[in-house]
Amino acid sequence: MKTLEEIENLSLEELGQKATEQAAPVPDGLERRLRQALAAREIADAARPRPARWIPYASLAVVAAAAALVTLPGRGPKDTFDDPRLAYAEVEKAFQTISDKMSVGRQLVREAEQTAAKPYQTLTKLQSK
């Protein structure tokens, strides 16, 4: 009986020679048991529900359909006005609103500038005294 250390020191070729010299005894009925195990596994695999391969494709199809519904031209809302003159008046009104709101912003900027200038004015006054 070889020790583990001796076996570890053997080269691959020596190990191969030893393996062919002594054929390992095959246990009785091993082949039959292997066949039975393989057959049982095949039956179990057939009975197990397979993951449906169509699910990712179906998901993609649903998402693509939803995207198409949202983005396809011609599915937009209906024009509020049939008369271009009324539409023009509404555009003008919208620009008036935008303009008014911008003017509010401009007024606030002016007020902020005046507030920001106060410390400078105070310092200048103090310096001149």
Partner: protein, 161 residues
């Protein structure tokens, strides 16, 4: 299976984010009670033709000279307290997902006004005005084309007047 569900959810979220635009906001809120809604389509803008200089009142900021073309206009004005918060948050989500940049924010007497633009270095392709008051929310979304340089110098000049 779990991976498929996650993939499906991610794709659905992408589509939902994609769906947030002026049109979807308009379709969601235009029929609600106490909401006035206006939509002007690209076809109607073609009928209107080129915009002449509009009168917007003396001393007011006039954007019309820098507008090269308009292709869509959505206006929603809600005085319905039950949907104001939802309209505002949907509009903000649309602004974020559409990569709009904040142009101006003004808060005055309980009213918040925000203006956003979207486009590239040379052209502004979209403009959004969102105003929120305690009992009223207004959303105006303009699609069109404005040269960025001209637009920005107009705003800068107006601020210095």
């Amino acid at each position: 299976m779990k991976r498929i569900v996650i993939l499906f959810a991610a794709l659905l979220l992408t589509v939902t984010a994609f769906a947030q635009n002026g049109k979807s906001l308009y379709q969601k809120y235009s029929d609600a009670e106490n909401v006035s809604a206006v939509y002007i389509s690209p076809a109607m803008f073609r009928l209107i033709g080129q915009l002449p200089d509009m009168e917007v009142g003396q001393n007011n900021v006039n954007l019309t000279p820098v507008i090269r073309s308009l292709t869509g206009l959505y206006i929603l004005n809600s005085e319905n307290a039950s949907i104001n918060a939802s309209l505002r948050s949907d509009a903000e989500r649309f602004i974020q997902s559409g990569r709009y940049e904040l142009l101006m924010e003004a808060k005055d007497g309980g009213e918040t006004v925000r203006m956003y633009t979207v486009g590239n270095e040379r052209t502004i392709e979209g403009f959004v005005l969102l105003t929120a008051e305690p009992d009223e929310v207004t959303f105006i979304c303009l699609d069109g084309s404005m040269p960025r340089k001209e637009f920005e110098s107009l705003i800068a000049d107006e601020m210095q007047k």
